[in-house]
């Protein structure tokens, strides 16, 4: 939760102004190229370019690092697993506390390829998430024929997420002030209470929200952002970028 986007991206940047549908299709195409790649150069190039764009959009470097902390941890784990437990060509051996470990060259290469895919994929999606407001992402998913119920539930979740986080924080602080997290057992009990309070709040809010929405004409369907027609220049530029990346992928693997 600690690395939710805290700043709006630069509103004047081309990426933020680009149609969300075009961005989504580009991201999916590039993601496909990244995850079908067997080498490590192309995903790392994608990661580098996306990080650069994130910084250009105004994302603080610290936040970018925080967002990458979990994928980096997982990438390191996979790299170690592949290095020591997969492969045939020994590279080095280690003796740690009587444990004999052999690092394999082919395992290292495989692991590095997966780790680079992780970094490439994560940076692509991070850039997309940063440059596109949630409601536009949902409208683009709706345009892509993702089931409307899924989109509606996502919109409700997103709308009330921040409200519930605030309520969770109030309860959490109140519990802390009353030593609710002093001691492990007490902490767990407090956490359970916090979760229960959130469900009660969610239920009560849903009743109030429904009443208010029905009074405003809600009939079970959420209104979507209406899409403007595609702009030729945007589409052409996006196709050009994706094609260039496709050529790069074929060249560098």
């Amino acid at each position: 939760m600690h690395h939710f986007t805290p700043h709006n991206p630069s509103a004047t940047h081309l990426l933020t102004r680009l149609d969300a549908r075009v961005k989504l299709l580009c991201v999916l195409a590039l993601l496909l190229m990244v995850i079908s790649c067997h080498g490590m150069v192309f995903p790392l190039v994608v990661a580098f370019l996306c990080c650069l764009l994130c910084l250009r959009l105004g994302l603080p470097a610290k936040l970018l690092l925080l967002r990458f902390s979990e994928p980096l941890f997982i990438a390191s784990g996979v790299l170690l697993l592949k290095l020591f437990f997969s492969g045939h060509l020994p590279l080095f051996t280690l003796d740690i506390f009587g444990l004999h470990l052999t690092g394999y060259r082919d395992g290292l290469l495989d692991g590095a390829a997966i780790a680079s895919r992780i970094m490439g994929g994560v940076s692509l999606v991070a850039l997309f998430g940063f440059a596109t407001p949630f409601t536009e992402v949902m409208a683009a998913l709706s345009w892509l024929k993702v089931p409307q119920a899924l989109v509606d539930v996502s919109l409700f979740a997103w709308r009330y997420l921040f409200l519930l986080i605030e309520e969770a924080q109030v309860v959490y602080q109140a519990q802390r002030n009353r030593l609710g997290y002093a001691g492990y057992r007490r902490g767990l009990s407090s956490f359970g209470t916090l979760a229960g309070v959130l469900v009660i709040k969610a239920f009560d809010n849903s009743q109030n929200v429904t009443t208010a929405m029905v009074q405003r004409g809600y009939d079970g369907r959420m209104p979507m952002l209406s899409h403007q027609p595609f702009r030729g220049a945007e589409v052409a530029l996006s196709i050009l970028v994706v094609a260039a990346m496709g050529v790069l992928r074929m060249l560098v693997v």
């Binding site: 993601l31 967002r67 990438a75 895919r117 994929g121 979740a157 709308r159 359970g192 239920f203």
Partner: protein, 246 residues
């Protein structure tokens, strides 16, 4: 600005944490596509179920959306795991499956995973199918099945909630380990790699499963004591089991 207010709040409750989501890009295209194909029918059934139930009750979609937000928050809250010396997250799907049933819970997990993938880099778009399978489908059905079985055997709400929470967490962990091993194994044999991946998760997930059970039980107990009407409405208990009737 909303984010400006929320970020310090989130920073206050944050500590280093490592989730059990399969990260973006970790699965090759073939496995990513297979897990999407496996998850899609369950999500479709969840959507169908929600549409059927939502016809009679307009408040259901907002409720499911809000529950998705609750699952998102719970699954982002770090819990210290003493044996691993780190923090981890509960899944929250056992809880949602007990409250709204396994199919709608798959939908809730899908929404929570989608938001986490887009805005927190937890999980990913290419691994969304795999994560829905392990956390949404396996976790929800395991939690719901165990809860129902224990209740039928006469177990109380808290006991059933505890074991359901444990089952949902551990089954999610086992499914994630299997999906991960299948995805990264290359030409290595599956079983030894699965064992190693499972062992790597073990110090965190074993105690975390028990903690998730305690939290699920505590939450259900609180609902049972304070708002049993909600549990009746969500068909978690029957009217005969209301505290005043017991």
């Amino acid at each position: 600005m909303r984010f400006a207010y929320i970020t310090p709040v989130l920073l206050l409750i944050a500590t280093p944490a490592h989730a059990m989501h399969i990260s973006e890009g970790i699965l090759p295209f073939s496995w990513a596509a297979i897990w999407y194909a496996v998850a899609a029918p369950f999500v479709a059934l969840g959507v169908r179920r929600l549409n059927i139930l939502g016809r009679d009750d307009l408040s259901l979609k907002p409720l499911v959306g809000l529950l998705a937000a609750v699952v998102f928050i719970i699954s982002c809250m770090p819990i210290p795991v003493p044996t691993a010396g780190t923090c981890s997250h509960p899944c929250g799907t056992g809880l949602s499956a007990v409250l709204v049933g396994p199919l709608v819970s798959v939908l809730i997990a899908s929404v929570a995973l989608l938001i986490q993938a887009l805005f927190l880099a937890h999980g990913g778009l290419s691994t969304l199918g795999a994560n829905i399978l392990s956390m949404g489908i396996v976790g929800s059905f395991a939690g719901w099945g165990v809860y129902r079985a224990i209740r039928r055997m006469g177990g109380g709400v808290a006991l059933a909630g505890f074991i359901a929470g444990v089952a949902a967490d551990w089954s999610t962990y086992a499914a994630t380990a299997l999906v991960l091993a299948l995805g990264i194994r290359g030409d290595a044999p599956l079983i030894p790699l699965f064992t190693k991946v499972a062992l790597a998760f073990l110090p965190t997930q074993l105690p975390l499963g028990i903690l998730e059970g305690v939290i699920t039980a505590g939450m259900l107990k609180l609902l049972y004591n304070k708002r049993p009407d909600l549990l009746v409405k969500m068909k978690v208990i029957t009217e005969r089991e209301l505290p005043s009737n017991g």
